[in-house]
Symmetry: C2
Subunit: 103 residues, 2 copies
């Protein structure tokens, strides 16, 4: 598999889940329209007190498209007011092992 | 989608990637044989200095099977010597949004 998987793990102050999701949706909509976007899944932790309340996963065709997608429009969305209240752990990865068949 | 997604984000001291992967593989082999395991993907960050060097993702059929799989054998593997050197951020999640088609 040559695609890349981008993870973003979000810390969310209690009670601000909807705010985070609205911010995320705006960025997700923007990125989905970019060449190189393959698919995404956004996850919510079952435990309200988990270290990471949400984990987003986005598959990209390759590193060049991923870099190109992180353009000025993306930076502007990311820098919009309030974002500093949500800590993120973003990680770009390659798949090194897999098994089974996802539902 | 009613399946659950378990994430485990691993912090790995520099130079100990192989050790972490060997530990992970033993636990993964054990869990794959459990009822309720659907599929997994293990990811390695492209950046050697990423906060999380590896992120594992495992899909499970439901919460009951996931709980049942975390049995005494699993606890024994998890507690084997050396594990305390690798910090983990485990999170059990549900998918709340998805788009595209994964490769």
């Amino acid at each position: 598999m040559s695609t890349l998987t981008f993870f973003n793990c979000f810390e969310v102050p209690a009670g601000r889940e909807d705010e985070l999701l609205a911010r995320w949706q705006r960025i997700e909509d923007y990125m989905e329209a970019k060449p190189g976007y393959v698919a995404h899944r956004m996850h919510r932790s079952l435990a309200p007190d988990a270290a990471f309340r949400f984990i987003n996963l986005v598959e990209w065709t390759d590193l060049d498209e991923w870099n190109a997608a992180r353009d000025a429009g993306f930076a502007e969305l990311l820098a919009s007011p309030g974002g500093e209240d949500f800590r993120m752990a973003p990680t770009l990865c390659e798949v090194i092992d897999s098994g089974g068949a996802f539902a």
